[in-house]
Amino acid sequence: MFVPHSEIDLKKMFEELSISSLDDLFTHIPSTLKLNDGLNVPPTLSELESISHFESVESKNTQNLICFAGGGHYDVYLPHTVKTLTMRPEFMTSYTPYQAEISQGILQILFEYQSLICDLTDMELANASLYDGATSVAEAISVAINKTKRDGVVVSNGFNPNTKEVVNTLVDRSKFDIKYVDLVGYMFPEDYIFTEEDAAFVVSLPHYEGSAQDLTTIVKNAKAVGVITICYIDPSMLGILKTPGSMGFDIVVAEGQSMGSPLSFGGPTVGWFATKKELARLVPGRIIGETRDSNHTKTYVMTLRAREQDIRREKASSNICTNQTLNAVGSTIHLSWLGPQGLYEIGYQAIQKASYMKQKLLDHDINISNPNNSLREFIVQTSKPAEDVIIEMGNKGFLAGIKYSDNEILVAVTEKRTKSEIDKYVTSLQEVDNA
């Protein structure tokens, strides 16, 4: 399958190599290592047969759950224009653009991606993508540690637990002290005292719990003692929230799924990473720059390559090589499709619909842990175990949210949800939780 060799081709090639069979290619491999009977795998399927196979596997997933889950991944509408342009084979089947002369398409899009993210976050330099939001947080912490040579890391507890677990895996806890700071009333404490042992301060805007605050003063306090400040953002809220740059942050990272990638069961998505130029040489991953060719024609090229693993080897700023370029292409095209008004509307409608839903839940005597300072995401209290409620809601056609605690569910609303879906959710939840 996909091997083009005809009998005539094989004859020609065997003659060139003076061999008489494919096995003759491997006379130098110890015979004890060779697979004599081949692999124990199923027989080949034609495309036609495999359509029914994969459609049948797909049908084992519960179909069309109405999504009220968030926590970094959001059911934002992804336009067909964005999907089809992103999946153009010239982008999808291309290699990393090391050969600039034949890769101007991808290089220019990645340059646009970097520029769009800088404009949106008020930063100066973005890289060409990292794996996802969680690994981007860990990479940002690593930049801060390398910059400050300090070993304390202050992380807000208001993060997706999976993100914290990734940080715990990737930041060597035998060398660095990660301090998780609890939110107070769903807010990072304004009076938190940073010390000169702290390399990094990492906080999410909005917090995982959905509450948002202006972090300007906290950032100022951290920077006063030389801490590198890192903001994790929800890109689909950038149209309505103040920019991390305006609050003074040094580094911005994000889970970029909601801009240009389908939910994809969590991957592939894209990790955004942007910072100030003074940290340029510590940035992980690829960076695209604008230059001119020998005829003074505008040209884009991969730059600051001396940071990367293929050149610096064990002294590299990160081991990242393959990244999430195609998802970054998706982000670029989606953001350009949205424009200022579209990105604003995604945030505005989500918050309006969440406000409506919170009121509706309260009207039905369902408690919300953080009704006042939350925006598009909030915590709903359940009397039954949260896990059971999520399963029962699933049976009624809703992905109710993400279990937050034994009796709490984190609920997210996107611009895609309708009043009717919200109304049905609330009545279903009431039935499920009171039954």
């Binding site: 060799h5 034949i102 340059f111 195609l326 990105l343």
Partner: protein
């Protein structure tokens, strides 16, 4: 010539440079439309809310489509031409996988959806695990690592934790060949190990004597590709793995070159304890211009409980998530690059036994044939039978005519081929590394060799200016110093630089 490159039309469109999406922006234009808000408006008061609109381009949908389509015409890809790119396995990516990856709940499941409602997705991961452990000769796998480098780090963190739990924290040295990919030493360093380099012998294989001298009670393990980055099968692999195992270390298989041996032999049978695979190389998922990839890690049974969790298990009620007891912890926010894993499964199902049993053989056949033809034009680095790739060198041409590997690569671009990998492995002077993959026809291989011959003749001409190559592409050789020195990484930066200089 019959196919690819010179014989067909040149694939890329040039002409005037394409403006940026920002330069196409005009106030008041827009592509996006949303349904009217269907809930009553409430006043939102939060100090984090901004008063102005975000800064983004304003373009019509048609302008947007034309812009990105024109950029597509300036981009080389597997679907438009041949990449003889060593170490990258740029094979054909079946279109059918796009269809499957687009099926509703595959594409649109929220990653926090409970296992009860995502039995299909879990079945995909479970079935792919079965294929992968059979092909590699291992026992269990995780799909969290989103790329090969992340797979390497996963493997190294497993080695670290395994050694710690067995009271062997003194073992801090990871041995890496001097011919290894840069990610190997970078990953070892990230995992907190010391990197110890083992040399390559004159035949192009791990220098066994040097390896013996480097191995001691501090040896944590060895990272190796087999075939190695010179495209040669490490014939002494059993001896190598014994040396490491006898000293209590583990050995790690870098799956970058797995394509050579699929259906021929298995890392697990060679003594490797941990294997990562690059689904975007061996199993034909598209490279996406640099990603996404997927770097699943497979281990022998005794390392199962160290895998990043959760992993999929099958029980009487169907599929479920299982958290390994001594897990190194998560490597990804959720389940890794699921849709990439799905595409790889589609490829494996289409190939089946017939295709997988012969996959490595055809990849090696194409490389061996191409190496035979090319060796009549430029010398090969090693006089050994190659596997799926081989290294040639133009060091003599550099001496005689100042023609560098770089120049040969650039001239090939002009003829409609991607350049081979150049200057890798680092231990070979003026290296050109070719990997044709099994999906190219013998005609395309002949065309590449013929073109290589012609351009080498051309470049040796008296009045040739090497810097002028490539000549027929949308742009010529870029000035790489400007962005590195002035950080022109954002629109407006370059114009600002021109104003100030």
């Amino acid at each position: 010539m019959h196919s690819g490159g010179n014989a067909s039309s040149l694939p890329l469109v040039g002409g005037a440079p394409e403006p940026t999406i920002n330069q196409l922006s005009k106030p008041g234009r827009r592509a996006s439309r949303f349904p009217k808000l269907d809930v009553p408006v409430t006043e939102i008061n939060n100090p984090a809310i901004r008063n102005d609109k975000p800064s983004l381009p304003e373009v019509s949908e048609h302008d947007l489509v034309m812009h990105y389509s024109r950029l597509a015409h300036r981009n080389f890809a597997v679907d438009v031409g041949f990449y003889p790119l060593g170490s990258c396995t740029m094979k054909y990516n079946p279109r059918f996988a796009d269809y499957v990856a687009g099926l509703n709940t595959f594409a649109n499941s929220h990653p926090a959806t409970p296992a009860t409602f995502t039995q299909g997705n879990l079945e995909v991961l479970h079935e792919l695990e079965k294929f992968l452990i059979e092909i590699t000769g291992m026992d269990n796998a995780t799909f969290q690592p989103p790329a090969g480098a992340s797979g390497e780090l996963t493997g190294l963190l497993i080695i670290k934790k395994y050694l710690e739990e067995n009271g062997l924290s003194n073992k801090k040295d990871i041995i890496v060949p001097d011919s290894a990919h840069g990610t190997n030493p970078a990953s070892a360093k990230m995992a907190g190990f010391n990197v110890v380099e083992v040399s390559t012998d004159i035949r192009g294989m791990v220098n066994i004597e040097d390896l013996r001298s480097l191995v001691n009670e501090n040896t944590a393990g060895l990272m190796l590709t087999n075939p190695n980055t010179g495209g040669l099968f490490e014939e002494n692999i059993m001896e190598i793995s014994n040396i490491i195992h006898e000293n209590g270390g583990l050995i790690y298989y870098d799956g970058a070159n797995l394509n050579a041996i699929v259906g021929v032999c298995r890392p697990g049978d060679m003594g490797f304890d941990i294997v990562h695979s690059n689904l975007h190389k061996t199993f034909a998922t598209p490279h996406g211009g640099g990603g996404p990839g997927s770097g699943p890690v497979a281990v022998k049974g005794f390392l199962k409980e160290y895998l990043p969790g959760p992993i999929v298990v099958k029980n009487s009620n169907g599929y479920d998530w299982y958290s390994p007891k001594s897990s190194i912890g998560r490597m990804h926010g959720y389940h890794g690059n699921f849709l990439v894993a799905l595409r790889a499964l589609v490829y494996m199902k289409l190939l089946g036994k017939e295709g997988l049993d012969t996959l490595g053989s055809y990849a090696v056949l194409n490389a061996r044939y191409l190496s035979s033809v090319i060796s009549k034009i430029i010398p090969l680095a090693y006089n050994e039978p190659c596997m799926h790739e081989f290294v040639a060198t133009v060091k003599d041409l550099k001496k005689s005519h100042k023609i560098k590997a770089y120049d040969v690569g650039k001239a090939l671009l002009d003829k409609g081929f991607h350049s081979p990998t150049i200057y890798f492995p680092l231990i070979i002077e003026e290296a050109l590394m070719f990997e044709p993959t099994e999906t190219q026809t013998v005609d395309t291989l002949d065309d590449l060799a013929e073109t290589l011959k012609l351009i080498i003749e051309e470049l040796q001409g008296d009045d040739v200016s090497l810097e002028e190559y490539p000549k027929n592409l949308p742009v010529g050789r870029p000035n790489e110093l400007i962005p590195a020195k002035h950080l022109t990484v954002n629109w407006g930066d370059f114009e600002l630089l021109e104003l100030t200089e």
